[in-house]
């Protein structure tokens, strides 16, 4: 059996430097741009890309961020430390949308992706149909030293997976839970830590929330209750600070709903996508 997903490479400039990004896509219709979590890659969206009910009406595109998955770092990477910033992340998403000629996509991201969609809604409302944040909130307090994620005496792959293993719901299916962790084990050295520079520090979006106009760019937040990083109360507080934003807590799900238990996520996600489909 061959899945209906196709993978290709996109050449584009990000922050003035040439990049070669890997992306996968399936379906036709309204563009739906998908953002993976910190330290992982686009494989997290494998079940959605195989969901005929979604791909019948949406052109679903999941790209690997630079340094992640099959997207290499830019030339000269060996001379620098990777650190994701709000401006670079938002610029990257908009550059990919432009390069693929996506007409006002819906952007859906998880974790760091669920955070950056808030910045996208604030800064690029008219270029988007709306945003969906999974496990999204404006800020998360640090609760461990991320230096341990990139340390010469520590195996980064095993430790990055172990750090997030409890964020996966214990109720999610065993195979999907461990596949989600395997993606973390395959991350490049220092990449998860570099993403968390944005997630646990630089990317505090609380001051921007009041600027989001949900009449121009609707905001929907979906959060699993086993997530102790972006906790349900973090998502609810974020939604409360954005007039018109909607938030739903998903019992039984963790920090990686599209990867750890897509069947459960889709019960909450499909009605949201249906609304975007009806709006055209």
């Amino acid at each position: 059996m061959i899945e209906p997903i196709t993978g290709r490479y996109l050449r584009l400039a990000l922050e003035g430097r040439p990049h070669r990004l890997y992306f996968e896509e399936a379906g036709q219709g309204i563009p739906l741009l998908l953002l993976h979590t910190a330290g992982s890659d686009g494989r997290q969206w494998r079940d959605l890309l195989n969901d005929a009910e979604v791909t019948a009406r949406f052109r679903c595109i999941a790209f690997d961020m630079p340094w992640h998955g099959k997207s290499s770092p830019p030339e000269g990477w060996q001379e620098e430390e990777y650190r994701l910033t709000t401006a670079a992340y938002t610029g990257m998403v908009m550059a990919v949308a432009r390069a693929l000629e996506l007409d006002r996509p819906v952007v859906m991201g998880c974790s760091i992706g669920g955070r950056i969609v808030l910045d996208l809604a604030a800064e690029h409302a008219d270029a988007l149909r709306g945003v969906i944040g999974l496990q999204g909130s404006a800020f998360v307090e640090p609760y461990y030293d991320t230096a341990m994620l990139h340390h010469p005496r520590i195996h980064g792959g095993e430790t990055c997976a172990a750090i997030v293993s409890g964020l996966v719901s214990p109720r999610s299916p065993e195979a999907a839970r461990w596949e989600t962790l395997w993606h973390y084990m395959q991350g490049g050295p220092g990449v998860f830590k570099g993403d968390l520079h944005f997630y646990k520090g630089e990317g505090d979006l609380r001051p921007k929330l009041a600027r989001i106009d949900t009449a121009r760019c609707p905001v929907v937040l979906l959060t699993g209750d086993y997530d102790y990083s972006c906790r349900p109360e973090d998502t609810l507080a974020t939604a409360e600070a954005i007039p018109g934003a909607r938030a739903t807590i998903m019992p039984g799900l963790g920090h990686f709903p599209m990867s750890e238990d897509y069947a459960s996520l889709r019960r909450y996600l499909l009605p949201v996508l249906e609304e975007f489909a009806e709006q055209g």
Partner: protein, 124 residues
């Protein structure tokens, strides 16, 4: 709280995944739950000895100090969301770590799995 810490050597030895996650782990681990304390001698991921406190100025590689109420939630047969994992306890301030944290993070799967083995037989 009753904790079956003395059973950990046998339980860990009988768990193949922990033998793998614990390879090369050498540490003297002080485990404190409120006023109760144990010192675990861990070599290559196996617990060679368990000593029950109280201790006077114990020497250790790293210490895990757990809030009893938070740890009780973790040890429930069906832990509530947000209290189901060792790092969740850290997030809520119910776990404090001291000493050399490199062995802890390098073998985090082992520490999570080993402490989860205390669920069977734990009593509030």
């Amino acid at each position: 709280m009753i904790l079956p810490v003395e059973s950990l050597p046998a339980r860990i030895a009988a768990t193949p995944a922990l033998r793998r996650w614990g390879r090369y782990l050498d540490a003297d681990v002080l485990l404190e739950v409120g006023a109760a304390a144990w010192l675990l001698t861990v070599r290559d991921g196996q617990v060679l000895a368990v000593r029950r406190g109280p201790f006077v100025l114990p020497s250790f590689t790293l210490a895990l100090r757990l809030d009893p109420a938070g740890f009780a939630r973790f040890l429930a047969a069906d832990p509530p969301p947000g209290w189901h994992d060792l790092m969740a306890l850290r997030r809520h301030g119910a776990l404090k770590l001291e000493g050399d944290l490199v062995p802890f993070f390098a073998h985090l799967f082992w520490f999570k799995g080993a402490l989860a083995l205390l669920r069977e037989g734990a009593k509030p």
